[in-house]
Amino acid sequence: MVSAKLHESLIAVALLALLLGVGAGPARAHKEAHTAEQLKAFEDVFMEQVKIGDLLFHGDPGTQKSLGVQLSKTGMACAMCHPYTSDTHPYQFPKFQEQMNAFATLRDMINWCIEKPNEGEKIDANSDAMKALEAYIYWSNRNSKLEPGVH
């Protein structure tokens, strides 16, 4: 129910963005001064993704279903180990990630968590679900400072 509402409002924001020229493509980008309405529309597009990511992060079944993902098969959700996204430290990526024995991005780490502790199905690294999860995690940590590579 909640995710359906979000999708409706996301469509509305997208339409608004089109009207304001947000989606007019690279040919028009930065050719004119931005209006307050445009900036608000940009923010709205971002915050809608944050909300979808929040729902995914907290295991909302409707949002998972609508995006065609299964982030856990055992009832787990990302937020069970990471309330407020704590200890995800997105500001440290990319970095060497011990669990993978590899140089990894935040998206790699999200997928590792989905597969291992959450026992879910890995998602496409460029999928809408991944972008929404990334948006929520970054937004939640937005006041932390960048520390790429820090373990």
Binding site: T74, G75, P83, Y84, T85, S86, H89, W112, R142
Partner: protein
């Protein structure tokens, strides 16, 4: 200054007056040593490089008491077996460890959050697993046990809290700190499952500051302690800590001021609590407070408010289900000491360097409350 900072300063002002601290006859030490099952060869754990350990906190009780041991298990967060067996395996391991103790503990305290979503199937599964334990068992509820049917199944199966009994010179109290959430569900026409879902989300918004002792129970606590000598030890079990640590996750009780007023006359008060899924130690006024492990999964330390007296748990491996979890063994000895042991299934319990500390990145971890559940 943030609201939380105001609160924290108030708590210091109210609870940490000059010279105000737990009785000097109570001393605290910690030690970590290998559990005997390691010496006997714990093949599964060794394969992961993890070892069962006991870590111990020593508290001294007033002279005249007799020694005794009891075990604490909490936060098993069981799902129905057909959905998730991982938490069942860990709870089973803890219960077997407790039962294997020789000599056996005097009793087991189960500190709440037996089930994940208050489902009678989950609570029955927990009751079945607890059959492993043959010694006396006492129970206090967690919020995960409560908000599907407002405690009806829990109370029927495990009895109502609060309760009190005396054991070898110690007055022991079990509190209910979970049943006092303000009603956010009726006006939103929520189903019982929806209400439970919000309450089961640690960083949820709608549950608000649900953790409390409540006026009625405070009155009961006053009565329960009324005839107890002020210099004799009191042990208080609660699901939530009885001081302010991190209110957004209910790592507190909202009426900590009133709780402190009630406990203040007593020189030797120790509170053992669950909910936080992490080692914690604090002294506030005359109250000593010890946070215990979960068997299910470790919570990260809150981004702020970790008591300065707490030695942080080591960072754990999220890929290893048995890492960072366990149970607790508490021993009060006749020579006026009580040991509280973190029985974590790994070699090192506490961090020795910042990079390995569970609070290691708190100097650069500025988090925001979630937004998608504000309906």
């Amino acid at each position: 200054m943030s609201d939380r900072e105001h609160l924290r300063r108030e708590m210091d002002r109210v609870l940490r007056a000059p010279g105000e601290r737990p009785d000097g006859s109570i001393s605290l030490t910690r030690r970590t040593f290998l559990h005997k099952s390691l010496l006997q060869g714990a093949a599964g754990a060794a394969a992961y490089g993890l070892f069962p350990t006991l870590s111990m906190i020593d508290l001294a009780f007033a002279q005249g008491g007799q020694g005794f041991r009891f075990a604490w298990v909490s936060d098993t967060h069981l799902y129905p077996k057909n959905l998730n067996t991982r938490f069942v395996e860990k709870a089973t391991r803890a219960f077997k460890d407790v039962q294997a103790m020789s000599p056996p503990p005097d009793f087991l305290i189960f500190g709440g959050d037996l089930g994940q979503l208050g489902d009678p199937v989950e609570l029955q599964l927990g009751a079945d697993l607890l059959q492993e334990i043959k010694v006396k068992k006492v129970f206090i509820p967690g919020e995960h046990d409560w908000y599907l049917d407002m405690g009806a199944t829990w109370n029927r199966m495990f009895g109502k809290a609060p309760w009190t009994f005396d054991h070898k010179g110690v007055r022991i109290v079990g509190l209910d700190t979970v049943s006092h959430a303000e009603d956010f569900w009726t006006s939103r026409k929520m189903t019982a499952k929806e209400r439970m879902g919000h309450m089961a989300t640690l960083d949820g918004t709608l549950g608000g500051a649900w953790a409390a002792v409540g006026a009625e129970q405070l009155k009961w606590l006053n009565t329960a302690l009324n005839d107890w000598p002020k210099d004799k030890p009191v042990l208080v079990f609660s699901h939530n800590p009885l001081y302010e640590y991190y209110p957004p996750w209910n790592f507190w009780v909202r009426d900590w001021r009133e709780v402190n007023e009630t406990l203040k006359p007593f020189a030797n008060v120790t509170n053992i609590h669950g909910h936080v899924h992490q080692p914690l130690y604090n002294e506030i006024g005359k109250l000593r407070s010890i946070g215990m492990l979960a068997t299910s999964w470790p919570w990260p330390y809150a981004p702020e408010g970790v008591p300065v007296l707490t030695r942080a748990m080591i960072r754990v491996d999220p890929g290893e289900p048995f890492d960072g979890v366990g149970w607790g063994l508490l021993t009060t000895s006749a020579n006026a000491r009580t040991d509280a042991e973190y029985k974590m299934w790994r070699k090192e319990v506490f961090a020795t360097t910042q990079v390995d500390s569970g609070t290691g990145d708190n100097d650069n971890q500025i988090l925001s409350p979630r937004i998608a559940d504000r309906i």
